[in-house]
């Protein structure tokens, strides 16, 4: 019988600009060493389901952490109110996200159980941020779950602070796993094709899995977009990807 225990709790860490930001963490109650996972929440916020994902990675044998990227705009607010506030203020600036992601990776590496290897996984806007982390942060694996505007140009007059990353694909320094729904409009299948072509041209290590009958947010168990077949298969690939790249 496996012990199968995890410790999950909220901690404060020093993020970008030395700001104190909230983060949810989960760790197996078993000796290491093991790899760590930074979970990047979706645009609707640091919500109950994001925290469930953090606990799941601990159950899978990783130390895991998710920073509340809206800590500064909306400390202590309900996740939907925090997301609305962040949207009204133009979203999360990339530079600030990178600072917070570096802090999360450092927190994982400072654990006595760490093997020094860290991966990132992000959903929706977090998918793009996971991709960005493979450029800007010292990580050994990155999982982009349907992140929009990795390639493609945001519409004119667009008030949110996102820029495409297509011209930075050469700088990717970690293997990428991409999971996409073929019915998604953000990103479209054509944009996923374009991203795949860029990764190939630059000789990057990557694997993409694309699902028919699934659109955006097919991992979101509490939303009508949830697609169990895509999500179950997607989780299988995520587990294998991190098992390979975070081992050591």
């Amino acid at each position: 019988m496996a012990y199968d225990a995890v410790l999950a709790e909220t901690v404060g860490i020093r993020g970008h600009g030395d700001d104190l930001v909230e983060a949810y963490t989960a760790r197996p109650m078993a000796p290491g060493p093991r790899g760590g996972v930074v979970v990047i929440h979706h645009m609707p916020g640091y919500d109950r389901e994001s925290k469930e994902v953090v606990r799941r990675f601990a159950v899978l044998g990783h130390d895991a952490i998710c920073v509340n990227l809206y800590s500064r705009e909306a400390p202590g607010a309900a996740p939907d109110d925090a997301a609305a506030t962040a949207r009204a203020q133009g979203g999360v600036p990339d530079e600030r996200f990178v600072g917070d992601a570096k802090a999360a990776a450092r927190w994982l590496r400072d654990l006595p159980t760490s093997n020094g290897r860290v991966g990132t996984i992000g959903y929706c806007s977090g998918g793009r941020q996971a991709f960005l982390s493979s450029i800007e942060v010292d990580v050994q694996a990155a999982v982009d779950c349907y992140g929009a505007f990795v390639v493609g140009t945001p519409p004119e007059g667009f008030p949110l602070q996102v820029q495409p990353l297509a011209d930075r694909v050469a700088e990717v320094r970690a293997p990428i796993l991409g999971l996409f729904g073929n019915d998604d409009s953000y990103p479209t299948p054509e944009q996923v094709d374009e991203l795949e072509k860029l990764l190939q041209e630059h000789g990057k290590t990557y694997e993409f899995h694309r699902y028919d009958g699934a659109g955006h947010a097919f991992f979101s168990v509490d939303r009508p977009s949830y697609r169990p077949e895509a999500a179950v298969d997607g989780w299988r690939h995520v587990e294998a990807f991190f098992a390979t790249h975070l081992a050591g």
Partner: protein
């Protein structure tokens, strides 16, 4: 919530009622994106906000496309009537 597309307006001389009662509105964001609660994959969402009073000072709606169209028509009709007052 990844269409990202968002219209934002300044709101003046207007009020909303949230969990803590009435408050003056300052901004509104309007966007077509995934809802938190409504049973569709995408809805027209409106957040009426007052940032000075914190994230909880918010009146939010998530409208189906049909409802949003009907609301738009109703607003138009009401505005035309108001012009005759």
């Amino acid at each position: 919530m990844c269409t990202y597309s968002t219209e934002k307006i300044e709101v003046a001389r207007s009020s909303g009622k949230g969990p803590a009662g009435w408050f003056p509105l300052r901004t509104a964001t309007v966007y077509y994106d995934h809802p938190v609660h409504a049973p569709d994959e995408h809805t027209v969402n409106i957040d009426f906000l007052n940032p000075e009073q914190g994230p909880g000072a918010r009146v939010a709606v998530e409208l189906s496309l049909d409802t949003a169209r009907e609301l738009l028509a109703a607003l138009q009709t009401t505005l035309e009537r108001a012009a005759h007052h």
